[in-house]
Symmetry: D3
Subunit: 139 residues, 6 copies
């Protein structure tokens, strides 16, 4: 098996508060658009992020990328900024961005992608709840 | 991030009875083909359906499609017809169709696709049990 | 550790159809009492049953009861009668019993309890859906 | 089976923000006590609550309590007050209470217990994350 | 709420190899007793351990025991000895003990119990697989 | 619906021991590369494998491939060789291969692919733990 493409994935978890609210809209317009997600004092979630890297397993290690190393990259460049934080106020790379799942997953890609040097970042999936999730593939 | 493609997904659940049985086959042939799934008085499942829509997040809302709205579409056009029903006898859009997971997921696509006006329907995954699931992408 | 009491549990799964309906009530009364669960052609579930036996681990084997043996007892005396069946019509030990989760778990106890000869049957938990479950302890 | 005791359980879900912080302590003392859970702008969780009622199944319905009715009680007297809310500021029955899981589950008991008229409230379990949960049995 | 008893639980995970084998029995007797679990070169599991402590929440912190502290106790006195280890050969407190789930959970109790100084250790549950688990309550 | 492409998936489970270790490297180099995964006496996991076959549902049966048949193929050609085994020493088709998840999933493809005669093998996903998984699509 000299050349084969394998997708390797690692999950990580964080707990954060957020509020969906656009500053150019009125309170009533925000409520109409975001309903209970616009609650003034916020709400929160246990988020799960799944990061997938694609590449050829190294002939010596058998790894596309050491998942312990991938875990460190996710922790250092994403989780530590968002875990036990308020996504509207506390996160440098989310300033001025409404923290919908769509916008968080795209911001997560920008944080992590530059640090993947073995294989290439293929997909990030973000669960906001058990029933709601989003994916971004850098397209 | 002016243009990016995000896949957003929503899960929904329903409980239904069904029986796998082809009317042009004899009882013995149905048993040979469908085994215990052809039990005359039926059996049932807790099904989970995952509907995925792909598109660009709206610059104001940050949503590809409001997942509360997607939930309403799934409920109105699919779940209310199948939840706590018998899939062989009670569902208008399954008349004459053997309710295998493959056929249910294709019928679900036809029910939901016309109502997705923000982004486009990308995939529907249907779990029949924890260990068995199918996907359809409109191909 | 000469004497210690350990509770050992084994899960099993079955898929069945059922309908909640009392023959002494009218259709309207059944609908008022059981709502969509009284649908005439039935509905169904993927059930999970968790059987717990309490006792002292054997000094040689370290087992309270071999869980492979417990699995066989559950399969032979319960699962084979209910899996891919209609609980209203097909199950000898449920004849004349409305197949609510409460009644199924009590019937399961009567089926399994006589066959537990190592340790003693302590509890049976039955999941009807991810969100609904019942327990019976022989009281 | 004229007299048997069955425990029936229903799960419900809510998403909320909170902050662990005692007003009589300094910022430094709060940080020492609650660590990252004391983050000034809060964080949040997807909580799951499991409410268990014990009693004898009704001879007609086969129910200890209709789980659809139990769901309504949980929703009306607990979920609607906490879902998509900030537990420090928005919830009347948590005023002046540090919203640890221990305190939330005890408050939930006080909200729900008076409304259980069939069977009796036996236990409430509250998951704060997949790995952390608490139980209260009215003791 | 001056006096109330709350049960708080924390999950932890470890991956280990083991083999079920009694040295006083022949190979054939071990195979008869433990079947495929006696495979000479071992097999393994992702184990999950749930540790439950019962007590009164502290009036200041609202904690029975800080779950971060409970996590440290579990890690220091149990997980670091068993994670990514062979339970037959590598674990001091399992020397001479057949590593059935029953025996592991009892050994875990002895490791952790002396370090619980807030509240009291109430129960340890150990999952060997999704379908097999055991509990010990110090009886 | 004369022509449609559906992806059907079946999960299976196995428990195995393994050790990550390259024979051409020193103990120190193996430790540096594989860390705790190189533990001399091994460790182990509950693995889950998800096999996905793509094809057109048969007009009579409504099946792409009977999932009971797919289960048999997975069991006969993969699970029986790896379940309750040591992946370094006991598995013919893993001889000389470091049993990383990447290498196991590729070997699983080679074992199963020749036996899929209805539809075509599309993807195999292998979970090593809840948080770590890999996928191979035959590329």
């Amino acid at each position: 098996m000299t050349s084969l493409k394998v997708y390797v994935s690692r999950k990580a978890h964080f707990s954060a508060a957020h509020r969906l609210y656009h500053p150019s809209l009125s309170e009533a317009e925000n409520l109409a658009l975001f309903d209970k997600c616009s609650n003034a004092n916020g709400h929160g979630h246990n988020y799960t992020v799944e990061v997938t890297v694609a590449g050829n397993p190294d002939p010596i290690s058998g790894y596309v990328i050491d998942l312990k190393k991938l875990k460190r990259i996710i922790d250092e460049h994403f989780i530590q900024f968002v875990d036990h934080k308020n996504l509207n106020t506390d996160v440098p790379f989310l300033q001025g961005i409404i923290p919908t799942a769509e916008n968080i997953v795209a911001a997560c890609w920008l944080q992590i992608q530059p640090h993947i040097n073995e294989g290439s970042l293929y997909c990030i999936r973000l669960y906001e709840t058990e029933n709601n999730f989003v994916e971004y593939k850098g397209e």
